[in-house]
Symmetry: C2
Subunit: 740 residues, 2 copies
């Protein structure tokens, strides 16, 4: 009976998968073309021309990428992930799911990554996935003025939210080809409400998304058909495939814990710096008064970032020598069966002399293949560079100078990049930075203990520590746990190291949590998105406040009540005078008895009722059955015409004749609205509100008379703290433990 | 500040991990010893002696195993998993977490598996893990009369439930060395309530459990120290390691879907048969009136099962010839570096002639190593047999006759075994049956398309289909999705086939759901455990009933109200006359006003109050401050002495002088108890009840007067159906779609 829901999930997955495929293709093609163009200049050491070329192309791309975000879809800015998280938590945010954002984010992200900025496609892909989930399931677009008459039953906020969750999960699943990881990411970080049914539909959606991306990728490379449609090679499917699994030793947990601690520290530092940079950015830009000037300066910042990034990318490798790398060359050579031929030029060769290969007198393959380590690390983008860092059995491929330089540059520049005016994702730069630092630690281990050939010590391999470092640092930034572990395993296919990864993730998160909140939650706070955590956490003087000591009445606001039979004049006045979105409806159960709380009605429903004159009753007709509006006529997502509505309200609230016209609200109110008594503990109120996903909660007294309302904004941590401080500082300081 | 919670989680993980290690060691040692003992008889074809030996040893083990469950800890019977699920859902079940059950389940399970019955250690290990979680966190044992004064803050039902969830997850994590899979299993199937904080603590617990098991296993084989402490070999860590990953083709999805459909059908059939068998079993045993006779007959049933299983195991291979198996021999040989030497005898060789190896004139290793296919499949237990079935690149290791025979026998006998009077798990037999059927389908593919050497067709490999079949069949039985996929990947390390596994799991579950409920939910129903699903599902005449059409008043029961100041006589009488566990407390807010609902109090709290005479007030002392009991004195888990309490209640309720003694309940009632109005929709009521994990919910009228109570039992599907049918069959038949 739920076939349409499943169909929709499949459809969303398919479309998101195709978008992910397109994203990868665009990035790969453009990136490769760009460097092929400057190949001969690099080889001849003409770095200035290289720089000019690369910068010129990059300028064009960043202009479009940043321009899209600045002028066309401001809500597509940066990763868009905090907005999606906030929306799914229940905050109402505008414009984040329209078709402009969809196209804007997608192309802005593709071009930003291809231009060579230190960013990745994940955040925007999650956003794009969420837009697909929202748009397809509603089968309408306000921007395009399309409204198709199918799947109408999904046009309610609960179902919409589910499809958005699924779409966001599909975005991650597609971009990493990690269906389980995508699902868990959505559940751990993105969604605030979910149940096992949604989990399992999302699972399907992720499956279809990964599948679509893989099948399409199987037959295309850089938009060229390759003739192997449907042949899924493990090399392509597993993004950062680690080929030789290592036997582990319990001793490996010691460096893992160290990596976890450093990763957590670095991650917390990243969060601190990034939030600081974003604050400065907001301050500076808001100082610019004129809108167009502000937009231009945002664009200029992104261009400046590009100049810095490209300068670093092109010129830094100049200071590094060419070093031998026999393992990679042999590997590439044998897999291509082209002994002696020249391999296609790779950017990591930079201006090193071309390699030749010969078979020595002992029958062993020799090669003088050299690479520029810094070029391999800086010029390649994250997707190409991470597998190099994860490579096992090639202990000394990268030396300290190259690793350390790349680490510092990546850390600093990616910190600046995140939050700039272009659709940029964070995950790949985070994994890259983490892998760089992990490999550095691994190399130190190799220097201390040497390259080990004993099977009990093979785990001392910088490639393994790069994987662990990536997990630890990303955990330090994002504070993800389960989903991060699964994503790392799906990315590397290294089930054997799962326990090391888990330990690194746990330690990284714990250390990071000691200093600050996760990046996403800091950004939510910075962007003033009202996000309710699962548990209330009000801190006063470095101590957690025990909300059991306070009652619902302490935070409630006075409210306007509406009578079950209300005249049009009063209704319009109330709507005009207040900005409340929900109203308690009261009525008197018997003559002379006090009015008690019966249910709630929303502003939107009242507006829809008021715009239908045929349901108005005069005192005379009140006993005659008047027309009752259908559910679909009252429950809409927004008022069709805001301006008209406003003038209607003004008209009704100005003319006393409307005091004689009544609406019987009985058929329209929500009689199953939860109410709490005013002495109800604040902690329980919070949990009730959050668990049931309410937007407003009526507070009643012992006789069930409505005395106040609590809304989402009243329950946000800093709001709570402000209100509670005024009440009683004694309770705030009391020790929570004593009361348990 | 939460260090004690983390410490406890780690402790639970460590202990469960050690238990898992012990379990594996016992099973492996006993199983191996048993077959070593009869080696020479088998080799000489003396099957009768073999049978007698094996049966004799098995008899002893099953006597103990079944005897433990029958006489010592009846609640350890069968897997114990439904009981844990029920308890975590909120049902109150007795004796499932005591120390008897712990030892009983553990040894019963170890011996049952070692005796050769077709069962595995997972279900009981989950149960054992849950008991560890409960016992350690409470730091007390009623059975042992131990109550230590540490970690007292965990002695409440919410925390206890969290530790039980973590322990159960650790059980799975330890037994499969699948930490993420264990966590997800607990979240998907075992726990009814959880949040991200619990998930992440459980994650830690699972990590420690897997780690402990792995580290201990690294240095012990059959209780002998091997001298490699802390060296974790991938071979040991990954339970059913698949070594050569295959490149996939999109065409592989076609047989995968077929496998999914058949797996779902077989799974549904298994559930149907198993429930039927269990019903017959319950009927037969309850027909035996005398307790000791009933116990003996349960024991006899298990022994009969053993006779059948052993007869099949020993004699069926007799009808199969010896067949070549060069791949395995070469593999074993090369890995042991012992060319030409004889390998230790393996049960799969049965009575085949011993193998010799020679290097041919072409320098290639030759061997005439032969095995008895049926012996390999039937004599080996699941843990040894599954890797053989999953083996890749050995297409024709097993022929149709052996596969099919083993499939039929395993399906039938494991269906009988599950539910018998011994602690037996289901997962391994399910995976085994599924792998057998998957390999059969794979072999059919090989017969049609031949053994393929083209890289685009290597996926036609019975080993791959065995993996997929195992997932499909297990999904058909258990209806697990996410956790099953992750467990399969953690078991096999085959990330490349994750999408095929996902598809098989989805199809298997969907097909199975068409026929019946999952095995666990069927068993919950069979055992009459009141389990509330996340969504209400009341079915009437094959149609889902829309609970929005009914109100809370339709299912509520009349209740006894208690006044805020109640006399001891009435309290005792109410407690004596009713069996209710929760009571609404009412009081009149002003003189002459009607009594309104204020909060609730539980039976246990009332009992504790009544047993403290010093808080009784006479009408004269009521205005003087009397002593108020502390939180810890009132909130206990059970009445210290039931008999004494009973006589106290009888005394109070018989003597009218207690009408003059009052208790002021004000300090003790739960003022934050949720109440719903009687017109509240039944659907919302259900969701509220289930989401907040309530045990009783007060129903009030518009003036906030308590009119009824709803308890867990009132909301169970069949109970709801019974009540609603009486009300109005019109509403029951109405089409749900129309109302959306």
């Amino acid at each position: 009976s739920d076939w349409d829901r499943w169909f929709m999930m499949g459809l969303i997955g398919g479309v998101v998968g195709a978008m992910g495929f397109l994203m990868h293709q665009i990035i790969d093609t453009v990136f490769e073309l760009k460097w092929e163009l400057v190949e001969k200049y690099i080889q001849h050491g003409d770095f200035l021309t290289t720089w000019l070329f690369i910068l010129g192309i990059g300028f064009g791309m960043v202009m479009v990428s940043s321009g899209l975000v600045v002028f066309f879809c401001p809500s597509g800015s940066s990763s868009g992930l905090p907005e999606v998280i906030g929306y799914l938590n229940g905050a109402s945010l505008r414009h984040i799911f329209n078709i402009r954002t969809f196209f804007g984010s997608f192309f802005s992200c593709a071009l930003a990554v291809a231009s060579g900025l230190f960013c990745g496609p994940e955040g925007p892909m999650i956003h794009v996935g969420a837009v697909v989930g929202c748009g397809l399931s509603q089968f309408k677009s306000d921007t395009l003025r399309i409204k198709l008459p199918c799947f109408t039953r999904f046009r309610n906020s609960a179902d919409k939210r589910q499809f958005i969750t699924a779409g966001a999960a599909a975005g991650i699943a597609s971009v990493f080809r990690a269906p389980v990881g995508g699902l868990l990411f959505a559940l751990e970080e993105v969604a605030s409400f979910w149940d096992i049914k949604l989990a399992w539909q999302t699972f399907f959606c992720c499956l279809i998304a990964s599948f679509t991306t893989e099948v399409l990728s199987s037959s295309f490379g850089g938009f060229e058909y390759q003739g192997y449609f449907g042949f899924l090679k493990a090399e392509q499917g597993i993004t950062f495939w680690v080929k030789n699994l290592l036997d582990m030793s319990v001793l490996a947990f010691i460096p893992t814990i160290i990596l976890g601690v450093i990763g957590g520290l670095l991650g917390a530092l990243f969060v601190f710096l990034n939030v600081r940079i974003n604050k400065v950015r907001i301050k500076l830009f808001s100082a610019v008064k004129r809108k167009w000037l502000r937009q231009i300066s945002k664009l200029l910042e992104t261009l400046l970032l590009l100049v810095v990034t490209m300068t670093v990318t092109v010129f830094v490798p100049y200071f590094f020598p060419c070093t031998e790398d026999p393992v990679t060359y042999q590997f590439l050579n044998s897999s291509e069966d082209s002994l002696g031929d020249h391999l296609p030029w790779d950017v990591s060769e930079y201006n090193c002399p071309p390699a030749t290969t010969w078979i020595g007198p002992d029958g062993i393959l020799n090669s003088n293949y050299t690479i520029n380590q810094a070029a391999a690390l800086l010029v390649k983008n994250g997707k190409q560079g991470i597998p190099l860092l994860f490579q096992r059995g090639n202990h000394e491929k990268f030396g300290f100078p190259a690793l350390f330089t790349a680490l510092v540059l990546y850390f600093g520049i990616s910190c600046w990049t995140a939050g700039t005016a272009a659709a940029t994702g964070l995950v790949v730069p985070m994994l890259y930075t983490g892998a760089l630092f992990g490999r550095t630690v691994g190399l130190i281990m190799v220097y201390i203990f040497g390259v080990q050939n004993d099977e009990h010590w093979t785990w001392i391999d910088p490639g393994l520590f790069a994987t662990i470092g990536a997990a630890a640092y990303f955990a330090g930034v994002s504070r993800l746990t389960i989903s991060l572990t699964v994503i790392m395993v799906e990315l590397t296919n290294d089930v054997q190291s799962i326990m090391l990864i888990m330990v690194a993730v746990m330690v990284g998160k714990t250390v990071g949590d000691y200093f600050n909140h996760s990046l996403f939650s800091s950004l939510l706070h910075l962007k003033c998105i009202p996000h309710l955590e699962a548990e209330p956490s009000v801190v006063h003087g470095k101590k957690k406040v025990n909300l059991e000591l306070f009652a619902a009445r302490d935070v409630m606001k006075k409210c306007k009540v509406i009578h079950l039979k209300e005249n049009v004049f009063s209704l319009a006045s109330i709507l005009n005078d207040t900005t409340y979105n929900g109203f308690p409806v009261v009525y008197s159960p018997g003559p002379g008895q006090e009015e008690v709380f019966l249910g709630t009605i929303t502003r939107l429903e009242l507006c829809m009722l008021l715009s239908n004159r045929q349901i108005f009753q005069t005192p005379e007709t009140s006993n005659i059955d008047t027309r009752v509006l259908k559910y679909q006529e009252v429950t809409v997502e927004k008022v069709p015409d805001e301006g008209q509505m406003k003038s209607l309200l003004t008209k009704y609230s100005a003319d006393p004749q409307y005091q004689q016209l009544f609406i019987n609200l009985e058929p329209y109110i929500n009689k199953s609205a939860v109410a709490v008594q005013s002495h109800f503990s604040l902690h329980r109120t919070y949990v009730l509100f959050r668990t049931l996903g309410l937007r407003h909660l009526t507070v009643v007294d012992l006789q069930n008379r409505a005395v106040g309302m609590i809304t989402r904004k009243d329950l946000i941590s800093f709001q709570l703290e402000k209100v509670l401080i005024k009440l009683d500082s004694g309770k705030l300081d009391s020790d929570e433990e004593l009361l348990k």
